[in-house]
């Protein structure tokens, strides 16, 4: 197990370096000059060139990358060009807020998908099943930005006290929680649509298994058969897949944060891209990568604990 852990941990390093290199190159190859973006159209060419030199943008691209990598290994991800502040400070200010949104959306996904999927499966081909299946298809087909605007127009406007946008403070306060409702629904419901379908088909498979038939033949109540025997076996793969979708939710927050003016990493990243704020894009992308890699890492470890054959492969 230890050697597997070491191998798996070491495999993260090339991924991080690879992603950082790709992000670095793609930003540099995109047209646009951060110095001009910062200084604006009124600034003279001399001032623009001076700033380019100050930022080290006049050096060859691989020299720039090696400097960035060297600093990154020391924990210094550079200073945001547009915000005039350390990128780590900016990212750490926002990462918690995006995580907050992601976790709330994940809870909604979990709650809706499991409930709807199970009900739909045990009432297969009923009207409830048709409604749930159709609803799931509806939610997963909706573009996030459109869904957000519809929630805003149809829910926030009609329900007194439901905020339209912004963050109302800490997650643990009432104001903070109510501000989370619409963005979390917007982010969580399309995912819930997908997982409702997965839960339903998983549950249907399990219900056909011999041990379920055995349980029923033993005269157990249907409720016990479903909750004790079928549900447990359905949940394992579904929850694992959901956990693997957490990074997707984290990334999906980019649009939701813009629509709902949520001050998280997504908005930080989008504005940084438009401003050609290279260090900030680099730092934000690195954090996103870390989240994805870490989620996969945890899933792999969990699998290897559950199934030792994976370690041997």
């Amino acid at each position: 197990m230890l050697s597997y852990l070491v191998r798996r941990t070491l495999s993260i390093v090339p991924v991080l370096i690879g992603v950082s290199l790709i992000v670095f190159l793609s930003m540099r190859l995109a047209p646009g000059d951060p110095a001009r973006q910062i200084l604006g159209p009124l600034a003279s060419q001399e001032k623009v060139l001076e700033l380019r030199s100050q930022l080290g943008l006049d050096k060859p691209i691989f020299v720039q990358y090696s400097i960035w990598l060297k600093n990154a290994l020391r924990g210094d991800l550079g200073e945001s060009i547009a915000n005039h502040a350390p990128t780590l400070e900016l990212v750490s200010e926002r990462v918690g807020q995006t995580l907050e949104l992601t976790i709330a959306a994940f809870c909604i996904t979990l709650l809706v998908a499991l409930t709807a999927g199970i009900i739909s499966a045990i009432r297969q081909y009923s009207i409830t099943d048709t409604v749930v299946t159709f609803s799931a298809l509806f939610w997963l087909s909706m573009p996030t930005f459109w869904l957000g605007l519809m929630f805003m127009l149809f829910l926030a406007v009609r329900i007194p006290g439901l905020p339209i946008s912004g963050r109302g403070g800490s997650f643990w306060t009432w104001n903070g929680l109510v501000h989370l409702i619409l963005p979390a629904l917007t982010l969580g419901l399309p995912q819930a649509g997908t997982f409702t379908r997965i839960t339903r088909s998983g549950m249907l498979d399990v219900l056909l298994q011999d041990y379920v038939t055995t349980a029923r033949s033993k005269g157990l109540a249907e409720r016990v058969v479903i909750l004790k025997h079928a549900l447990r076996n359905t949940l394992i793969p579904v929850i694992t897949m959901m956990a693997l979708q957490l990074p997707w939710l984290f990334g999906g927050s980019v649009i939701v944060e813009t629509v709902f003016s949520w001050p998280g990493m997504g908005r930080l990243l989008t504005t940084a891209v438009f401003e050609r704020d290279y260090p900030l894009v680099q730092a934000t992308a690195l954090v996103y990568t870390l989240v994805v890699v870490f989620a996969n890492y945890l899933a792999d470890i969990a699998y290897s604990l559950a199934d030792p054959r994976i370690r041997l492969q």
């Binding site: 000059d33 604006g40 159209p41 915000n83 926002r94 912004g166 001050p263 504005t271």
Partner: protein, 533 residues
């Protein structure tokens, strides 16, 4: 007076007096929340490249002089001014008893320190004061601007809302953190806090009493607090205004304006904008060097259709590179442009025929010596430029010009325009000081950015020199008119439309009638006149 009359008179006096007291008491206090569309990079005017910080800066910091609604310059931090006979020394008497929010006294010494050591060398607008040779403190509240040559633009630039006066001590104290942790001016509101990406909070300056005489309230402000929330999505801003906790939004997207105007709980205010949308033809390209091709483009474009489609009809068709609301606008522009900036597709076709770009039978694109008339149009991915660009593309197709339209984000567009990788662009400019706009867009020293057209005209450059450094206002006005006339004639930069600007407020916000009287520059007006009913 009998007893009955006495009672009636007394009751009337009490009613009137009581009503007055209750109205003014109602005006005091409260919080006003404004939504801003863009994130703020910094509140340091020396380093910010964005327009949005100005909405905050304009409430916290002030200029020496200020424009009133008639575009006349009025005192603000300066009490009065005079100019010597040789026009080389301007004497400014400053208002007394004013302190910066950090307690630093505002006087001739601190003003000199700020201007000489901070503003002139660091500000983007520092070049506007190049003719200032020396600042001389004559008395505690008297400062002389000694010039190298007569410079009548001095007062105009001192009234430019970008050229604010801030505490030199605060700059010294906060260093690079100025604009993030601190913003210190003399205005009616004081910087309180900034939660990055979310909100900025300003608190009332209770000691403020030196507001401009042309406003009904010279201070302190009625409001206790102003909160700026960052709401990037237009529809979210409008929804927040109608149903949420935002009280005021600025520059309402035109396609949502009509709805807001119908909403009885919302009051809207249309005001002149400084933004002109125009076509810039790249003079590096041989096709564009032929004036007949540029004229054909000009005549092929229906400006009213562009205005309707892009700005829902709000605004006006442009007749100059400057909007009528900017300083230096030539009042004869409209009359002059009437016969030049016209929509006449037949004339456009004739001009192309004359230029040798014929339309082969059965073809839709013109040709000359086997070369097709394909033009590359680059525009930014914001509706104010991308929509007109799409309309221009369709209109040019109608006269046989095939346009390859490329839409990018701001950084990519800047790079393409700067590198001359385009034939023409639909772009725009927004600046309240028209003389600066002329310098930037058509002056040859601004090639390639923002003079993307590579407009290199010695006649224009000479006139611009007079606009900049003319000794008298009359000289400058004449030169500015000449530049605007030449621009319309040359059709290298072809004006299309002038956008209108707007503000929308919730019904419970009072004072908007006072605001409507002063539409030119609103920040200080909003700060002093608005209240919560």
């Amino acid at each position: 007076m009998n007893f009955k009359k006495f009672l009636i008179t007394g009751a009337l006096i009490l009613a009137v007096f009581g009503f007055t007291v209750s109205v003014s008491a109602q005006q005091q206090g409260g919080t006003l929340t404004m939504a801003l569309k863009e994130k703020l990079d910094t509140l340091d005017v020396f380093t910010s490249a964005l327009y949005e910080p100005l909405y905050v800066l304009g409430l916290v910091c002030e200029t020496l002089v200020i424009y009133d609604e008639n575009m006349e310059i009025q005192p603000l931090l300066a009490k009065s001014w005079s100019v010597s006979v040789d026009q080389l020394t301007w004497t400014f008497k400053l208002k007394e008893g004013i302190n910066f929010h950090d307690g630093t006294p505002f006087n001739a010494e601190t003003l000199k320190d700020y201007l000489w050591n901070w503003f002139f060398p660091k500000s983007f607008g520092g070049w506007e004061f190049e003719p200032v040779k020396e600042l001389v403190v004559v008395g505690e509240y008297t400062l002389n601007f000694v010039l190298e040559q007569p410079y009548s633009m001095l007062l105009t630039y001192l009234g430019d809302p970008w050229n604010i006066i801030q505490s030199p001590a605060a700059y010294e104290k906060h260093g690079e953190r100025y604009g993030f942790d601190a913003l210190v001016g003399t205005g009616p509101f004081m910087f309180d806090s900034w939660v990055r990406g979310d909100r900025i909070i300003l608190k009332k300056n209770p000691d403020y009493t030196h507001g401009p005489a042309f406003l009904s309230n010279q201070g302190p402000a009625y409001l206790d607090e102003i909160v700026f929330r960052i709401v990037p999505e237009a529809i979210t801003r409008v929804s927040e205004l109608r149903y949420g906790d935002v009280d005021l939004i600025r520059t309402v997207p035109e396609n949502m304006l009509a709805n807001l105007q119908e909403d009885t709980n919302i009051e809207t205010l249309l005001k002149p904008s400084f933004r002109v949308v125009f076509i810039s033809c790249n003079m590096d390209r041989s096709i564009m060097q032929d004036k007949r091709v540029r004229e054909a483009i000009n005549h092929a474009v229906d400006r009213q259709a562009v205005l309707n489609a892009t700005f829902s009809g709000y605004g006006t068709v442009a007749s100059s590179l400057l909007p009528p609301s900017a300083t230096g606008y030539w009042s004869g522009s409209e009359e002059f442009a009437k016969s030049i900036l016209t929509y006449d597709p037949d004339k456009a076709r004739t001009l192309l025929d004359e230029a040798g770009w014929g339309l082969p039978p059965g073809e839709t694109v013109r040709e000359k010596n086997g070369q097709k008339l394909n033009l590359n149009l680059v525009a930014m991915n914001v509706p104010r430029y991308s929509l007109p660009a799409e309309i221009v593309t369709a209109m040019l197709a109608d006269i046989g010009i095939a346009v390859n339209l490329e839409i990018f984000d701001a950084a990519a567009v800047n790079a393409r325009l700067e590198a001359s990788e385009f034939d023409f662009t639909v772009t725009g400019w927004s600046y309240n000081i028209g003389e600066v706009t002329l310098d930037m867009i058509v002056g040859s020293p601004s090639i390639p950015n923002p003079n993307y057209a590579r407009y290199d005209s010695p006649a224009i450059d000479r006139a611009l020199e007079t606009v900049r450094l003319g000794a008298t206002a009359e000289e400058r006005v004449t030169a500015s008119a000449a530049v605007q006339r030449m621009v319309v004639e040359d059709q290298i930069v072809i004006p299309l439309v002038v956008r209108s600007d707007s503000i929308a407020v919730k019904g419970h916000v009072g004072g908007i009638d006072e605001v409507k009287k002063h539409p030119w520059w609103l920040d200080l007006v909003l700060a002093l006149e608005l209240y919560v009913k």
